[in-house]
Amino acid sequence: MTSPALLAAVGEVGKGFIQERSSDTLPCQATDALFCWDWAKDNIDRYGTPTVQHVELVAISVVLGFALAFALALLSHRRRWLQPPLLAATGVLFTIPSVAFFFLLEPFTGRGRDTAIIALAIYTLQIIYRNTMVGLANVPESVKEAARGMGMTERQVLWRVELRLATPEIVTGLQIATVSTVAIATLAVFVGGGGLGVPMKTGIDFATNLILAGGIAFLLAVVSGLVLFGVQRLLTPWRRARQT
């Protein structure tokens, strides 16, 4: 089903996850079915821990990434000269292939979840930073002029007007970052970061397993995307108000 070369590249393939509860042979081999319902029913509970780990990986990475990107956005908002270098820097980080990134970090931070979180958080920077800057740039000049003219301080203009109006773009950035992190986090297993990559990697030659683990990751992405969409609607009631 999978090429030996890929299996070799992935490393320690084999028994572990799949065969723990099964006999020596892979289940359902006789029927040659793509998805083995019996095995899935017996083993679905074993995806609980990887799923929780996965959610934690994503949540912590996105929160960290958001905190850093948001801070960078505030820092560069009134210092325009900072924006091109920051965009370039986060952009370069974003283009590093993920597996390579994990291995690049490994000598410095060792194997484990922290390394995975650092890499994943850095991946979110570009999306969140750029979206925040776009959101702030989209705030109409006239609104800012009115805000200053009525006596808001620069800080009040930023927090009460600009960031409120940039909320749709900021949340969209979070949404894209979260959904993509759900996918990239499946690679955390390569630095021992846990998550849904664990069952995927150890059972890479067993379709049922891949479908289950991949399906859960897919569901996580969809659900987190929807939740953030809801958050965006809740935070921006004025956008739902249409001309009547």
């Binding site: 009115a146 009525m150 006596g151 108000a241 249409r242 001309q243």
Partner: protein
Amino acid sequence: MPQGEAPSETRSESGASSVSYDGATKRYGDSAKPAVDQLTLEVPAGEICVLVGPSGCGKTTAMRMVNRTVDITEGDILIGGESVRDREPARLRREIGYVIQQIGLFPHRTIAENIGSVPQLLGWKKERTQARSAELLELIGLDPELGDRYPAQLSGGQQQRVGVARALAADPLVMLMDEPFGAIDPINRERLQNEFLRLQAQVRKTVLFVTHDIDEAIKMGDRIAVMREGGRVAQYATPAEVLMSPADEFVEDFVGADRALKRLALMRVADIDLWEAPLAHVGQATAEVRTKLAAPDVEVPYPLLVDSERRPLGWLSERDLAADTVPARPDSPLGPVLDRDDVMRDALADLLQGEAQYAPVVDAEGRIDGVLSVEIISEFLGSPRAKVEEHSAAERPHD
């Protein structure tokens, strides 16, 4: 804004301060030419001073020096005798209403919240701010229900009214208005101008009003400062004076060749003697109406149909009069209807636009007050009386 509805809780908002420019100069960077050069003028409390001039004359810069959105390089500006240079800008601005052409309402705040913006900055209690928002919505003639809407749900004209209400919310000493009606279509602009003048008659703020439109300046200003390139004032005078005796060639050119016509902008329909039309009521015998028409001193040769409240419904034609009784639906449309408070220039425009020779003039309740004709206006323009009337009108232009 509906008249006769001035709610009693609308205090005669007396808080207004004079504004004095005292050699105020603005220079950008090291450039030799200042944007505003040694500006010295005094705006008495409660008056509208219009800064008018071609683009690049420094009028907006001059206005913005008052709330320090533009900083003063040399000289000073005093509000109620107090230098703005001594004030912390944000605090100063909360005492000065600010209206801009693009309105700049906060899209994420409801109309009521928008109006309550400055009170909120001043730390008013929530109930007080809400009450004030409701009061202002009424003052600008907007349905209180609109208070819960967002700006995107309002028309441009409504948004501009809200912009004015927001500027008035904390009862400012001074209002700055930067081409406030510049982005509104001509018909609504005229309406908003009239509304603002009525509002001003109630609130009596000191207003600095910037426009490039001399007609608007003549209409809105108690005084006009005509500015020219280099940030200098060419003439500072009442609208009548600017029209009658321009200080120099620049002002004369800027005011334009149609000065005579512009004088109409200084008068209201109520200031002129109107004609009377024979009135007719629905169901009345046409014979009676024809008798009235035949009277030797009849001024308007058409009978005007009015309802029981004397509100005009339409003009009766020969065909209408051919019947025994006056019909409910007259043959000819009513055409333009003028308000006693309309400015003469606008009234003439309405007449010409409606291709009408006569237009009924109504009072605030919509009841017939008389008829204005193109003939009355042309007679007036030709009469020596015009000059006298102009001056008296200019002294009390906004009743």
